[in-house]
Amino acid sequence: MAGLGPPMIEVTRLTVIRGGRAIVSVPHWQVETGKAALVLGPSGSGKTTLLHALAGLLTPGAGAVRIGGRDLAALNAAARDRFRGATIGLVFQTARLMGALTVSENLALALRLAGKPQDSARIASALARLDLAHRARARPQALSTGESQRAAIARAVIARPALLLADEPTAALDDAHAEAALALMQSEAAAYGATLVIATHDARVKSKIAQRLDLAGPAP
């Protein structure tokens, strides 16, 4: 799929300012559709902030972010929200599941907010692939750490987003779970041709993906 259209991510002269100082500065960075990339850097280097900018969760002080050729700044707030729901899936360091909903309901809500039809077969299939079929009716509080993170990945990919962003997805996991989560995200992204970007400073992840953006962090 690479090279057939605009890059999935194109960041140009991006600067995110917080509290009067630049948190992130990226002169230019792009990731082709269907590829995987890492955003690396020490704590406080702005990895999460960059991911938020890619997801349209914050407005850059300067520069542009284009996702699939769409300039996020050109969209109004509601359109940006809908675009995010339909195009981007996010995985966080912690699972962040909706506590009032069961695992399958969390996935159904993600489908709804992405503007996709309710599809119980797709939900069942996603849960089965991630070895969560038996936990479909469980509430998040009843899940183990590994199950929670798998459920979060299932929620992020259920609407088959074009871009999957993961923010330190393995930081809270042991080696086995970290490897499994990473493999799951890679396989799910590959299955749907999604672009995968992982922000991490986890050494266990660095060797798995070749393309990377190193953030040096703010000047002292």
Partner: protein, 415 residues
Amino acid sequence: MSLLGLVFAELRARPLTAGLHALMLALGVAGATALLLFSAQSEARLQRDARGVDLVVGAKGSPLQLVLSSVFHADIPTGNIPMQAAKDIIADPRVAQGVAIGLGDSAGGFRIVGADAAILRFYDTRLAAGRAYAAPMEAVLGAQAARRLGLEPGSTFKGAHGLGAGGEAHGETYRVVGVLGEKRSVVDRLIFTPLESVWAVHEVHAMQGLAAPAPVASHDPGEPHAAHAEDEPDREATAVLLRLRSPLGALSLRRAVNAQSALMAARPPDEAVRLFQLIGAGTQVLQGFALTLIAAAALSVFVTLLAALRERRGEVALLRVMGATRAQVFALLVGQGVAIAALGTALGLALGHALMAGLGAAGGRARDFALTGAWFEPGEIAIALGGLAAGALAALIPAIAAYRVDIAKTLAETG
């Protein structure tokens, strides 16, 4: 899973909190509903009971007391008037129909009304059994009185002094000759007999030395009999019920009667309004209490939603990450407030009707005025909308706070 589904899921996840808020609101709504139903049923009853009576003439005193005693049969009379004066008023050309009544006795708690048989036409009654009375000591009973006393044509009963239950029994026996069909008005609770019966009963008592007016134990000193032969040589009546040819005639006749020193005329609708003004003050206090309960419930919903939002702002941010717009998040919070309010309001309306049904069941045995839960008032729609608005209002500030959530900052804070 729609946003509405999420609203209910959030409530299901906290059933005790949601249930308590709904119950608190329900108590306020139930109070407001019950008071509305009580007022409406009371007003309807007064209107039904006063229907067809344009003017009441009786002895000077309180007009409200005159109407209460002679039309609604709920108070003691103001006194008696000379029968000749009653006849003169009935003969007035402005009067379309008139009937003199004599009060003072009762049977089993049901009032005995002495009057010409024309009163049965005056009240537009129909006989369900038997015939109209034609001689003294014959009686025609309203449907409820007959049912409660277990009387039918051919039965006999004894009257008692006084207008309530427990009066001293007369020795004379009334014979039931007819029972009226159900009118759903005060007529159902009355016992009609010729005015002569009332006079005869008290003449016998006077001759037997039994009817000393004031000291008779069961005879309230404030309850004058229609006639006390020992007191006055002429016959007396308690009041005259009048239907006038025109409203203008009613006004002029009332003025003319009230100009006399011994007589007084009163319009039942005016006195009903006065009565409601008196009752209204108490009702307003209770309404205020019910509204305070609703406001307190709304306040507790507000506090809970605000606290829940602070606890779960990470989830709000997550919803935005997943694609929910600000408007959807706002609607979600308002929806939670409205859902709690809807539950409380529905429960409150049901409780209000159940309360009236309960009061009706309890009061039906003890009193003549039976309340019912099977009565719907348009004002209940306003109560329901008020309940829902209280919930929406309570959720407004939390919803605005959710609308303004800074996603990136909140995600960082709630890591």
